[in-house]
């Protein structure tokens, strides 16, 4: 009897899974990729690699704290180690889902805190192939989503979701995402330009378990048209470290606490 039940359940499983709408898949993916834990900290090493192979390094510590539900407000704090001319600079973002972010930059050479204009979330993050949106997420409601198929990517079963921006002011016309059916992490994303040609590819190159949360610890964004790519490695990744609210204030923007940035 139990054996029949199991067989029945297994037969039902794909249908169960199919019952998820594309929006639900993307929402689960957002939760897994950008909202895990109450807070998050990582040392981030970015390699900006030109077509000719010349490398530039951006090394930083990123702190993130969630406020509210998945898809809700978040605060980010970034401290730069490298390159030398931005060492000790800090950058803070209050991210709101339905409106522009608040962003502040601290310039240590003259001890100055400045708000910076931030209405374009598709701008490059520190000169890399990643945009601000790639770092902190894009609103699910900004796109229409459709599951185009399900397929294996390597050894992983994936949903393949096509996301088309509702507004026309975005640098791509649509995006295809391979979302892992088990942990809902995006394993690959393809961005197609206005002519429908593939121009940017995101890949999750290494996934590790951190405190029970599957975490993308290596990722690459490659611009196929320019040949430029950015490889990102997270070290010292950690969740639920008890980041206080006041870590995201002007006081610590000017003088970050070592224990949070080291």
């Amino acid at each position: 009897m139990i054996r029949y039940l199991i067989v029945l359940l297994i037969m039902l499983l794909p249908f169960e899974a199919f019952a998820l709408t594309a929006e639900e898949v993307m929402k689960k993916s957002q939760a897994a990729f950008l909202y895990q834990g109450k807070d998050f900290k990582a040392r981030v090493m970015m390699k900006l690699i030109s077509k000719g192979g010349a490398e530039r390094i951006r090394e930083l510590t990123m702190l993130r704290k969630n406020y509210g539900d998945v898809g809700g407000d978040q605060k980010y704090f970034i401290y730069f180690f490298q390159p030398a001319d931005v060492r000790d600079m800090t950058f803070m973002v209050y991210k709101y889902p339905a409106k522009d972010d608040d962003r502040w930059l601290f310039v240590p050479a003259i001890n100055m805190v400045r708000r910076i204009a931030a209405q374009d979330k598709r701008s490059s993050f520190v000169g890399s192939d990643f945009t601000y949106e790639d770092v902190s997420g894009r609103d699910i409601e900004d796109d229409t989503h459709a599951i185009v198929k399900e397929e294996r990517l390597g050894a992983r079963d994936c949903y393949v979701v096509k996301s088309t921006p509702k507004a026309g002011d975005v640098d791509y016309s649509y995006k295809i995402s391979w979302i892992d059916k088990t942990n809902f992490l995006p394993l690959k994303e393809e961005y197609y330009d206005r002519k429908g040609e593939l121009y940017k590819v995101f890949t999750a190159d290494e996934i590790k378990d951190v405190k029970g949360f599957p975490t993308v610890t290596k990722r690459t964004m490659k611009n196929l048209q320019s040949g430029h790519r950015t490889e990102v490695t997270y070290t010292k990744a950690n969740y639920n470290i008890g980041l206080p609210d006041d870590a995201f204030t002007e006081r610590y923007l000017r003088k970050p606490e070592r224990r949070w940035i080291d």
């Binding site: 900006l48 030109s50 530039r56 390094i57 490298q82 390159p83 030398a84 001319d85 060492r87 522009d100 608040d102 050479a109 003259i110 001890n111 100055m112 805190v113 708000r115 910076i116 204009a117 931030a118 209405q119 374009d120 598709r122 701008s123 490059s124 520190v126 000169g127 890399s128 430029h228 006041d246 204030t249 002007e250 006081r251 003088k255 606490e257 070592r258």
Partner: protein, 414 residues
């Protein structure tokens, strides 16, 4: 001075031995600018050179429990006066606890929301550096000060005490061709406020978020940083004394998102205590100053910033009455407009920028275009120019009409 700062010096020598973590960074830099007008200032030593130096900056940072220390020292080889020098740009100790912190030593402050326009930022600046094409950080001068930060729930408070007065540094006649209202008076001296308790300057900033805007209130009690001029005998002056009259400033600032950009507002009342009546032509009258700025990204990696600034002189009738015949007269409302354009290219390794001042009241201007390129993560260079003109021979930018210069900075950072 030594009593306060001798322990600091000892600390900087001893501390590294005990520090839990210590880091050394800095740069090697060459910085040169040349006047392109063919004119030369009367006391010129460098010919067409306005600035020429090589320097090594060393930044040492470390910590011992709740204390951290930081020093920033420039070792300079300078070509116009053939000087070798050591400049302690900053050297301080930080102490931090949960609800308050303190910084003691030579440090820099940047307050307010203006872009190169300062109302509530009453701290010493180096305009000679600014007009010579030196990197932006040299616009600020470090001051020996104590700063205490308090962080109660409702607001944040910064209290600053500066026991030793430091003036602004303005262009001088050895490098710049400047307006001089009394060129025949050669005997001149400068009198700075003595380091006495009653001459200690105080500055307070109280800040918090109000409806998504960064709001701040400011109070300052101290001195004008631009010298006033006193002559021994107004009818036939033989001797000029530069001095720094007392000043208090009360102001506010607001900054936040608006109209898809950043809106900045700042205002301040300059209480010129030694000439409240406005009848002393040598001491500035009291003023009300205001600024509105707007900053916006128009497309990826391109931002535009505009500002309008007004400086309203109180007791203008008295001021006019106090002027001797023939001496230049300031406007009742001095106005200044600025425009900043910034474009990054090539994965933000190239920065093209343009900054301009224009005064609708004085009709003079300054234009500063710059090209900056990061060759690698360690090496960048910049070339730019400063063009001055318009107005009258005595106005702020008009008097620098013959000082147009081009400059270059090459820096290796480590």
């Amino acid at each position: 001075m030594l009593i306060v700062f001798f322990p600091l010096i000892v600390l900087f020598i001893v501390a590294p031995a005990f520090a839990e973590d210590i880091s050394l960074h800095g740069f090697v830099q060459g910085n040169y600018s040349a006047r392109v007008t063919g004119d030369r200032p009367p006391e010129s030593k460098g010919g067409d050179l306005v600035w020429a130096d090589e320097r090594v900056q060393l930044k040492i940072d470390g910590g011992i429990k709740a204390f951290r220390f930081f020093t920033k020292t420039d070792l300079i080889g300078e070509h116009i006066n053939e000087n070798a020098d050591v400049e302690f740009r900053e050297a301080y100790v930080d102490y931090a606890s949960k609800s308050w912190d303190m910084r003691l030593g030579k440090q820099m402050f940047t307050w307010g929301v203006g872009d190169l326009i300062f109302i509530n930022d009453v701290f010493p600046k180096d305009y000679e550096a600014f007009f010579s094409g030196r990197p932006m950080e040299y616009l600020k001068r470090g001051v020996d000060a104590v700063k205490v930060g308090l962080y109660p729930k409702v607001t944040s408070i910064e209290l600053v005490a500066i026991p030793f007065f430091k003036s602004n540094n303005y262009p001088k006649t050895d490098r710049f061709i400047m307006y001089d209202s009394m060129p025949n008076v050669r005997e001149r001296s400068e009198k700075e406020p003595n380091p006495r308790v009653k001459n200690t300057e105080y500055a307070v900033r109280i800040y918090r978020d109000i409806l998504g805007m960064d709001a701040a209130l400011y109070v300052y009690r101290g001195f004008h940083r631009k010298p006033a001029m006193m002559v021994d005998n107004p009818d036939s002056p033989r001797y000029i004394t530069y001095f720094y009259p007392r000043l208090s400033v009360y102001g506010f600032s607001l900054q936040g998102r608006m109209l898809e950009g950043i809106l900045s507002l700042e205002g301040g009342y300059y209480d010129s205590k030694e000439d409240r009546a406005g009848k002393n032509s040598m001491v500035p009258n009291s003023q009300t100053r205001g600024l509105v700025g707007y900053n916006r990204q128009l497309w990826e990696d391109f931002t535009i910033g505009i500002q309008y600034y007004g400086e309203y002189m109180h007791r203008y009738t008295e001021y006019k009455g106090s002027l001797s015949t023939g001496s230049p007269r300031d406007k009742r409302l001095k106005q200044l407009a600025t425009l900043r354009l910034t474009q990054f290219l090539k994965y933000q390794t190239i920065k093209l920028s343009l900054f301009t001042f224009y005064s609708p009241s004085d009709k003079d201007y300054m234009i500063n275009p710059e090209f900056k390129y990061s060759l690698s993560d360690h090496v960048w260079f910049a070339v730019g120019g400063n063009v001055f003109g318009g107005g009258k021979p005595h106005t702020e930018f008009g008097q620098l009409n013959k000082d147009d210069n081009i400059y270059t900075v090459v820096r290796y950072e480590f």
